[in-house]
């Protein structure tokens, strides 16, 4: 399951890019594994995906963002245990909250480690806000938060959709799903 989660994290962004959606969707696999297996497997999924994304892109500079994957894995397994992924009515607010937490975790890394220049689209927003006169810290935080709120809400909704359409014989293989 971990390798499936890692592959989903690395591949699903390709579909978002084909649809020209400003989303990373790089945590869908982590959230799925957290809901089907548990937090330990989700943690390994998130960290492995971050390392392999660095290997495949050739840029290990983004490795400090692995901390965000840890936060996502822990939060997603807690949310799944609480039943937040059973319906869209609970998955969407839970995803929004994760977006807030993930954005708040990523912003200090983006500011202190990379000086605010991270992924292209996010940095363009940061630069625009900075040009409007906002302090750099605030610009980085707002741009990081705005992308993560949308990204993680949609990621949670996607995983909720997968869990709801999971065939019964497959669902029976995951005891964590029954809890």
């Amino acid at each position: 399951m971990v390798r499936l989660g890692v592959a989903i994290n690395l591949v699903i962004g390709q579909l978002a890019a084909a649809l020209l959606l400003p989303l990373f969707l790089d945590a869908v696999g982590t959230i799925l594994v957290a809901s089907l297996v548990g937090w330990r497997a989700a943690l390994v999924t998130g960290l492995t995906a971050q390392v392999l994304a660095a290997v495949l892109s050739g840029n290990f500079a983004w490795l400090p963002f692995a901390v965000v994957q840890v936060v996502i894995a822990l939060y997603a397994s807690l949310a799944a245990r609480a039943g937040a992924l059973r319906s869209y009515w609970t998955a969407v607010p839970a995803g929004l909250l994760l977006g807030f937490i993930a954005g708040s975790t990523a912003a200090p890394i983006a500011y202190y480690v990379f000086g605010g220049a991270t992924a292209g689209g996010v940095t363009v927003v940061t630069t625009a806000l900075r040009a409007l006169g906002l302090p750099l810290q605030a610009s980085v935080y707002i741009s990081s938060l705005s992308t993560d709120l949308l990204d993680k809400t949609i990621s949670f909704a996607l995983v909720c959709m997968v869990l709801r359409t999971l065939p019964r014989h497959l669902a029976a293989r995951f005891p964590a799903l029954a809890r």
Binding site: R3, I12, L15, G58, T123, R173
Partner: protein, 253 residues
């Protein structure tokens, strides 16, 4: 994608742990470095690694493609929009401290990139697995790393196939943001459910072959290691610990 290429360079002949340790040390040290001079020195070390791996051309291409756009953004964010005092650099009014910060941050990213390219080009995944098996790393860890690397291209192909199939059935990729968001469902659902079913079959196959039961496996042809390389790897660790201890002392004092 930057990957392994068969060659006879110095790093290709080394134990796989040695280039990894060298690049890991450069990665840790460059994030501890704060002045442009220190970052520049580490960039020189990374370039030396690329030369030893016979990957200087690839490293420069990667630096141009990945690091240069980030450096330009950093110069805009910190140089043009940075705090006073300012100085003229050509026609541009550039913040002095912002320019120094942009140079340090851009230098870090370039250094990591060049060192990474050197390692990726010189460390053979097969030799790395042999080295890990020889050192007693559990099979589940090596299987996870290697099989995921082979699974990702397959999943990418499948994603492209699903995209084409759904377009044949009339799925439109354009339109309003909401229409594009709605199109995510017919694309992601078959990809994830199909992969889940495949994993289910693979788990049964692996279980029936008793994979993971053996306490320790024997590598057929483990890479040779030398005392010099062993010492070099430990030196990397000592230098990194010393640098970060000095940095921690700066923070505390």
């Amino acid at each position: 994608m930057i990957g392994y290429e068969n060659d006879t360079s110095v790093l290709h002949g080394a134990h796989p742990y040695t280039p990894l340790a060298l690049a890991g040390a450069v990665f840790c040290l460059v994030f501890a470095a704060r002045s442009p001079e220190h970052v520049g020195a580490l960039l020189a070390v990374a370039v030396l690694l690329a030369v030893l791996a016979g990957a200087l051309g690839q490293a420069l291409r990667a630096a141009l493609a990945i690091a240069l756009p980030t450096i330009v953004l950093l110069l805009v964010l910190h140089g043009l929009l940075g705090p006073a005092p300012y100085s003229f650099v050509g026609p541009f009014l550039i913040s002095d401290s912002g320019f120094e910060r942009a140079v340090v941050l851009g230098g870090r990213i370039t250094t990591v990139l060049v060192a990474t390219v050197a390692v990726l080009r010189s460390v053979s995944p097969a030799r790395l697995v042999d080295a890990m098996t020889d050192r007693g790393v559990p099979f589940s860890v090596t299987y996870l790393l290697v099989s995921t690397l082979t699974l990702v291209p397959r999943m990418r192909q499948r994603a492209a196939g699903i995209l084409e199939a759904q377009q044949c059935r009339g799925l439109r990729l354009g339109g309003s943001p909401f229409a594009r968001l709605a199109a995510l469902r017919p694309l992601t659902l078959p990809l994830i459910l199909g992969a889940l079913m495949e994993v289910d079959e693979q788990v049964l196959a692996l279980d029936s072959r008793g994979v993971g039961r053996s306490p320790r496996r024997t590598a057929l042809d483990p890479p040779a290691d030398t005392e010099f390389e062993w010492l070099l790897r430990w030196m990397c660790l000592v230098v990194v610990v010393a640098a970060w201890t000095a940095r921690a002392r700066e923070w505390l004092l």
